[in-house]
Amino acid sequence: MASWKTITRRSFIVLGAAVVGGAAFGAYKVAEVPANPLVPVPGSVPLNPWVIINADGITVIAPRAEMGQGISTTLAALVAEELDVDWAQIRVLHGPPAQAYYNAGFVERMSNEPDYRLSKADNTPNAVLAALPKILSMQMTGGSTGAIGGFLQMRLAGAGAREALKAAAAKRLGVLPDTLKTEAGKVIGAQTFTYAELAEEAATLVPADVALRDPSTWRFVGKSMPRLDMVAKSTGTETFGIDMTLPGMKFATVRMNPKRGGPMASFDPAAALVLPGVDQVIRLGSGIAVVANNTWTAMQAAALVDIQWGPADYPADTAAMLTRIEAAFATAPDSRLRDDGDVETELGKGDVIEAEYRIPFLAHAAMEPLNATAWVKPDGAVEVWCGNQAPILTRDAIAAALRIDSAKVTLHTPSMGGGFGGRTDPVPAVLAARIAAAMPDTPIKLTYSREEDMTQDFYRPAAIARLSGRLEGGKATALWGRTAAPSATHSALGRLIGFAPPGPDRATVEGGFDQPYGLPNYRYDGHIADLTVPLGFWRSVGNSMNAFFLESFIDELAHAAKADPLQFRLDLMRDTHAPSATLLETVRDMSGWDRLKRPGFGRGVAFCYSFGTPVAEVLEVQDTPAGIKLTRAWIACDPGLAMDPSIIEAQMTGGMVYGLSAAIHGAITFDDQQVVERNFPDYDPLRMHTTPSFEVKILQNNGTFGHIGGVGEPGTPPAAPALANALFDLTGTRARELPLNRTFNLMT
């Protein structure tokens, strides 16, 4: 498999320049270059962590991980735009763990202001905030930040490389660099040089100023580019982590305590060890690993190990957990991130409409089960291959587990067969490294069974919400939402960085407090439940919870007001955030909203502004003899600058399918402290025949030029409420609980 390491060894030049500070467009001062993590080859002076040039073409080192969201293609397009290379010359690899690849986009998510109120013209963080992700080792993929974080960084990498190449050519020709131009991987002047010819010399040059291209001249950014991974993914030749193949490799699987966080009291491996092909059963603290000559035998053997599990420290079953969550309403709110007007006075006037909603824990269930490959070398160094969203944290966790220096850990991030937030935790990498440490100089590929993947996940929290509202003259005058849930942020960051950051937990209330509804009295509270079920970030995080609550409740208010639910939203939004209102009008027109209402059909609308991108969705459902069918869906989104329309369309569609799958079937439940759902029949997604057709429109009105909203997550939050609202429209039954297959007979 190609990796940054072999590439840098085979070829010899890494070049370009790094840049700090700067405004949105114009000239950039080249300043201190961050430590370059790419392995230099004798005789070269690597300068730039993002661009490698050799005779075969240009390799872009992507600082974000590819999980299917298309980010590697978008990041490469940004480099190519400035570097003047043909698309066919570009390849992309994921970079090693390094500060240089910090995600500047994360600072965008560190504010407690509703996104739509931020009026920033661009995504250039101020210097103090910009340091934060570095401090937190946030070489992280998540929060739909990849394109935002890379927008400046990757173009500067491309432009810096271009200017260095021009400078090298200028030196040879004895002219000023400005007299030269670049095209299709060549510097053109009195004489033409290929980039490869100039690369070694260019690597020694640091251009003083780098001007970025005027957006009106862009050839790649804003266009639907052929994805760089498409051929490999259509021919079975993409190497996912689970496909790692190394000489003499053994195959392992794990069985960890299903009572999460509990100890292992005892185990007896005898029945496993007699299976032909089994090498070893290894104790791993709160579980075991089996190593064998093939993965299937390891999985069969793991099931035969007789294990006594100690208890977890959370309640026994889902009902008891919900009681715990409910109790949080009686505690002081953790957050009140919105408190417009005077909710209490307005609601005190009476005629209050109230509703309570409940949603379950959810698993990520990416198609590629969790896995990692590790190889402990004779000198004690360890090499690990593991698809992950946080390389620095993963590398350091491996080092800590093996009690070795981080410098002795080489971590590769192969592309992932889906992630959806579920590959942030370093657990598989750490377990693989520990197994490998028990079998030195033997490469070990650890593959989780689907059952282990589903029962050892870090779940989207279950939550309960209580909303109250008031109408006057057919208009909503007040809304008070309260969400109670255990905190995914506290749980995940506690595990990942050892502490939960102080202050209000935005994730518990995002999608609820921060929506562009111009209610005169609007309050949103978050209550944190005391529950130690291991939690994580699930595609769109808190928005997936609160969009269901808020958008169901807005729908209830609209019906109580005898108003059209789409028009009702539009009226609340028009004066607050025009791009969002435009999206509602757009889905209205795309779907022919007024004509959708007819016998045997239902229609639902929902909206959510998340990760810098407002999204409105309309869904049509039909009563059929085989159950209720999802027939057609329309999505209008506005990410601001649309970097790659084809990828955005795919992400919006996929995000909605992901949300609909969870809304219909998704529930992780507990019995005897163990997750009940173990494989796909228990946790079914939409399928070919149950997926609606889609029409997607991408608008570019949001923010001022240079605003780049996320696209990987924002398609998900409106899905569940759009469906619940459509089902209400069809049946007159209001579902206040997910999954919806508990209330409705949906086609399967």
Binding site: G68, S234, I242, G277, N294, M367, V657, N679
Partner: protein, 154 residues
């Protein structure tokens, strides 16, 4: 015990117990990793291969029973020589994470060999056992229709 399998036109020896499923013989024994593991219980379709032209879940076939001509994604076409289905997948930019796509393509290959010009209903019937967590179904449908036309045109 050693088994002899006919894979992508070549005879391959595999030295694993007879109850090991074909999926793992391909992946772990022969490093043919294009065929994917998703569930292990015939519930996802990621492991789909062709045996004598029929789409089967390779996670369910012990190597001792894997008689017949086996075709995996590697045998359908290669990056430099795409099969029409794979070409259609590229044209329609189907894959997101791509993990399910080997299975989707092999399932679609079986569909098109039995039903050269499938209706949407045919596609629903043939493809509903193949999960895609990224939700690429609409593009898969479009690509299958397109490949059918390409193959008809020869």
């Amino acid at each position: 015990m050693s088994y002899s399998l006919s894979i992508n036109g070549a005879t391959r020896q595999i030295d694993l117990p007879g109850d090991v499923p074909l999926l793992w013989a391909l992946r772990d024994g022969l490093a043919l990793t294009g065929t994917k593991f998703g569930c292990g219980i015939a519930a996802c379709g990621a492991c789909t291969v062709l045996i004598d032209g029929q789409a089967v879940r390779s996670c369910q076939i012990p190597i001792s029973d894997a008689n017949g001509e086996i075709t995996t994604i590697e045998g359908l076409g290669q990056p430099g020589a795409l099969a029409p289905l794979q070409q259609a997948w590229v044209t329609h930019q189907v894959a997101q994470c791509g993990y399910c796509q080997s299975g989707q393509i092999m399932q679609a290959a079986a569909l098109l060999s039995a039903t050269p010009d499938p209706t949407d209903q045919d596609i629903d019937d043939a493809m509903q056992g193949n999960l895609c967590r990224c939700g690429t179904y609409p593009r898969i449908r479009a690509a299958i229709h397109d490949a059918a036309q390409m193959m008809k045109a020869g």
